[in-house]
Symmetry: D2
Subunit: 407 residues, 4 copies
């Protein structure tokens, strides 16, 4: 019986970024076959490689499955074809067979040229408008939009692994072991922060309330004050705890400086929320000189934007919290635009949310004491993340110290 | 120097529920002193006890701190005094010194009688209206409402520990060890479910998407079909995964029955969301016979209410998801009203949210493979929770099997 | 039907140490009944209390079960009776019904007086010799020894909870949450170390190799050099890693100061073992000036004893390792004799081993990044342990710093 | 300045097993350079590939570092050279520069032919005797032995990844996520067990006491009875718990069938140890008909060998326990000889020990509820292990059920 086959081509750092390995892997996992028609490996580490393969399947269906799989690693049919577009007939309803995005850089072959997809995110669709292509979430799709369907004319570039060994990402790989020299890792993260800012990069922190519980709030506040942070993404809890600590010295009623319990400390949490409502907002609280230190004080003072996304478990929530999560997602994305580095601290919810919004080229550092949290994030597709299993109450002050020394 | 002192009284199962222990503990933690004026211990295990103590502090402030602390364990000043009310001057802004609630049953002494507080939840305020008292979240407080301030005239009853050894809660205490006989624990949970329903109780499940990933969705669907579940509280993810599994057989693209990857499986997740948008809602999808099995199918079919709360990490989210979390909280509370048992499965976010909304008398079972998740929930105040560290993919099918045998 | 009943008496800080609570609890768990015949509660927090109860069971067997249970919390029959002894007929074989010890302080009523049991440990038997009583492990029992059987004439004192709030143990209770102010906890542990030494106490460290991996070895070495540590209990791995780090700068081939990999670094581990064999022992290595820094260097230099217990996973093991674990247990016990504080760091195996050898009055601090490890240790009976879930690579340097400031 | 360079050659499934990727990676991590002189990639997935590279370093030292690194992935200098041997001058002291083994299949070029190293294990040396080469631990090295030094003439074959998709190892990769369909994974493990036995393979279980606590002992006993298990490696605890459960129905005093506490149950553990001492050994206990079911009963009955290695935390330990760990290691290795599959259950200590003794070609399945335990094992070099994060009390009964169905 004649086999179904197709020629594909892929280029880039095929070998050192494991791209070819993954492609061969996927073909074999689907029990397909391949023949290498041409393989030009870059002779030096900086050279790019090109491979042409003939991929075969037992039948058309199997072949299609394989091609679909390897498409996501950058393998495209040799003859470029125009991208297929289909009109949306109803708000928020996509045409069947719509193309669902990865978090890798993507191009579409449209009007005989490769057009990059803007605002790249994972699990969205691509809308083409005025010769530009945009990554758009399902809820923002409008009747009449032209949406990419199928995978013809779509090209994906898997991220090239960084080779710079001065870089925290280069030396640790994708590991998340807790058995690493903590003080050195803190130093490396600090270097990366300072370096990123020197090069004009943008750094965003995504954080949970454990920052305050464990006593790391002053370290984060200091980083903001020093000009190293360009945005804070969080939920209600981080803000309430930060302000409770800044105004009353406690976190959920426990004094952070000596771990004793405050008088009627159980009220401090709710009291803090009430104080923000009284002032009207966090910014007004700063203006009214009722909030004089801490993470959010430094944000207001230094005009660093922050977005607080509501969640079902919120107490209050604060007037600053965006309770509609669809709106909050849009605001998160604005902050994340053009970020070069994102530091995620002790919050699985906001970290996974942010991870989905980031193109795969953005550096992500995740710090959490609980290893499964770190693993889960990577499993969810943010595989470029560097996982650090440590105690944020001890780790972040070390980072802040090192940043100070370096700057 | 003369000490400041005050007589207080407390009653209930003082000794076997450790109430007296906690009170002595707190007095001593604050370096206060106490004298037992009277202690009538129930001679038999079913009897109640009464204690009168004189509590002393070095000064008025210290005494107040102590009284505030032990108030939360039910110790009240001997002479009953009228509860103090204050008018709210502005929407969502409470008077200073507002009373912040616990999750224990609470009464206020109003118009010379003890009035129970309705709709008891943690970290809320108490609004008095037409001689009734209600637990109200800060965002629902309106200008003109009368709110309880201070703790005078407020009485709290800590929950009495259950003594029924046939009960899963009685035998396990508050432990959350993974080193327990799994099959027996599954049997006990099953017995509790069956028993609760026989006695006309209401059972609510709070669940995360791991139910589907690990292959436990059919077990949950069966419990709903069997009439054992009275409500489902979840987020977008559980619904999307359940429907992806019900319609395509996969969870995030992996076939649950044999763990192979589906063709273009990465799209299944987004495809499912699109299908629900096309149908208009989950309920319509069932009516249009496009959804024919699974957790949410059984909910629609058996008229079991479900609430999906939005979160910042949602893909889509589905049209059924309430994206405004303040609204979602209200809907959650409606489902939880009068619940006798709440089973929380693999979702920290929704579990903590639900925990805050539950009076301390409601039985809570938490199942998660990650011990810190279980511990965190209890640390957050839902201390009546029974933690089961197990693999839901194996545990829930066992529970469903046992329920079937028993009914 | 007439019930079987028995009067028992218990004294001590019955209420604030929860002893009475536990006794009532156990009676009710066994579905027995009790009547309080007399209860003299200490009026002040420093007073001791006495309770007399009549305990009843449905039959003799049930009553015996109950009495056995509450015996372990200190409840004894009112009329003191002589302890029962039985002769051992064969080495290492105990008489049936031998008394199995707890880790609480124990007395036997022998020759009309209460004799304390020396060398108290958990899960051992009691041998009486020349009017003295000793806790003895089964393998050390010899033919002809007189061993205590049954529980008549045996009295157990559950540990009284400490009330000193300056103390790390007092403020944290038995919690092991990772959500605590890390820097403050490090300070408290440091204070406890300094305080214990000032009062002439003995401090023993039980440690695993993560101390070296995470970069905390210099902190531990400094504590030894400063005279704060009186003994080190470990296995082969801590010693090999410490010496690899001290001589080659690496831990399993990775430079700890900058996390780069050493040339042929994979050999460093085995090379270190070979170097110790060449020298003959760790002590000889120090004498030959081949080992000049680190934990074990400081031990040798400052004559601080250390015991390395062999385990099935050892590489080598080093000549200093006691490969026979029965012998190693005896050597561990010698070091632990009269210890006032034991600090267990990142090693479940040696921590559980040590926990079993310690009377319940000894302070135990456990530091580990993995919460289940901490929980497991407490479940195994070392319930007086204070669990700190942190990153040792960041935590121990903080402790060492604080100790330095304080001394 | 002239660079130092060297030609190397490597062959095998270079691309799909990621070997070439790793080699390029290591060269670049050391900031070396390479040129591909020749690359013959297998056209089909079953073909082998050959690569010749010229590797360059800035100086001799850097080049040597690189060559050393890539040697471990199978890259050898093109011109074969005789292996270097050196005589051991003193028992247990190796020559400097001794070759330290990996767990990959290894050959030495000796007397002009490639000789395979027998008894391959990690972190040992190679002794050559009568033209055969053996992997030998340091403590077994004798004066006069000829030991391989340096890496000249040593060839290592990294394991080829299996491609059989019916195989549990093929479909899961190296992941250890808890978010997998549990019931399906249990089925796959069962299939692998049955398949391995059909093909005449040898299966060894390495287990901890949680098997008994969680109620999985009958499942393991059944597998042994069914002839699926060829050896048990454990410590004292598994044996004591198994026999306590088999004779008294309890595990640490708790009845496994209903989780109630036995009368004087705290003694059951020590009582069991005493009963084994009375009988003389586990085998004698079976012969005396005092032990009639359970894991170790089935071992004795079916003549399945078991080895119990002592550890510092042992109670007793049982007479069958080998208290000298160096001896126990030797006995473990005998059982592991020619094993095709090793199943490690809830014991980090024995699992890591066993992992070090296994050639990298042996299939390893690790089941544990605690994800960091699974991760740690893989970090320690047993990277071929398949990690299953599940509850053994539910998982093993599923496996046993499926094995029964299949056989």
């Amino acid at each position: 019986m004649k086999k179904h086959s197709q020629e594909v081509e892929v280029s880039g750092h095929l070998i050192d970024s494991m791209i070819l390995t993954k492609i061969f892997d996927k073909i074999m996992n689907r029990e397909g076959e391949f023949e290498i028609l041409e393989l030009t490996v870059g002779k030096k580490k900086t050279d790019s490689s090109i491979a042409k393969l003939r991929v075969s399947g037992k039948n058309a269906k199997q072949l299609e499955e394989i091609l679909d799989d390897i498409h996501r690693d950058g393998a495209i049919s040799h003859n470029e074809k125009q991208v297929q577009l289909k009109k949306v007939l109803k708000n928020m309803v996509l045409p069947d067979n719509f193309y669902s995005t990865t978090n890798n850089d993507t191009w579409i072959f449209h009007h005989n040229s490769w057009t990059p997809v803007e605002n790249q995110m994972m699990d969205k669709c691509i809308v083409v408008k005025h010769n530009r292509a945009f990554c758009v979430p399902i809820r923002d799709v409008k009747k009449g939009d032209l949406v990419v369907v199928d995978e013809i004319g779509v090209k994906v570039t898997p991220p090239q692994r960084p080779r710079d060994t001065a870089n925290i990402f280069a030396f640790m790989g994708s590991s998340s072991s807790s058995e690493r020299p903590t003080q050195h890792i803190a130093k490396k993260v600090a270097q990366d922060i300072v370096e990123t800012k020197k090069n004009g990069g943008k750094i965003v922190i995504v954080g949970g309330p454990a920052i305050v519980h464990t006593g790391a709030a002053p370290a984060v506040a200091e980083l903001i004050k020093g000009g190293f942070i360009d945005g804070i993404l969080a939920g209600n809890a981080l803000a309430v705890h930060d302000i409770e600590y800044a105004t009353l010295g406690t976190s959920l009623g426990m004094y952070v400086h000596d771990a004793t319990l405050a008088k009627r400390g159980h009220r401090n949490h709710m009291d803090t929320i009430n104080e923000v409502f009284k002032a009207g907002s966090i910014t007004k609280m700063v203006q009214q000189k009722k909030l004089k230190k801490g993470i959010f004080y430094q944000c207001v003072k230094n005009k660093i934007p922050f977005v607080l996304a509501g969640s079902i478990r919120d107490d209050g929530p604060l007037p600053d919290v965006i309770t509609d999560v669809a709106v909050a997602q849009r605001e998160y994305k604005k902050i994340l635009k053009d970020a070069s580095m994102v530091i995620m601290i002790s919050t699985m919810l906001h970290s996974i949310a942010t991870g989905n919004m980031l193109p795969s080229g953005v550096k992500v550092v995740v710090v959490d004491i609980n290893q499964p949290t770190v693993t889960k994030l990577m499993d969810r597709g943010t595989w470029q993340a560097l996982g650090i299993v440590s105690d944020v109450g001890a780790f972040l002050p070390l980072v802040a110290q090192e940043v100070k020394k370096l700057s």
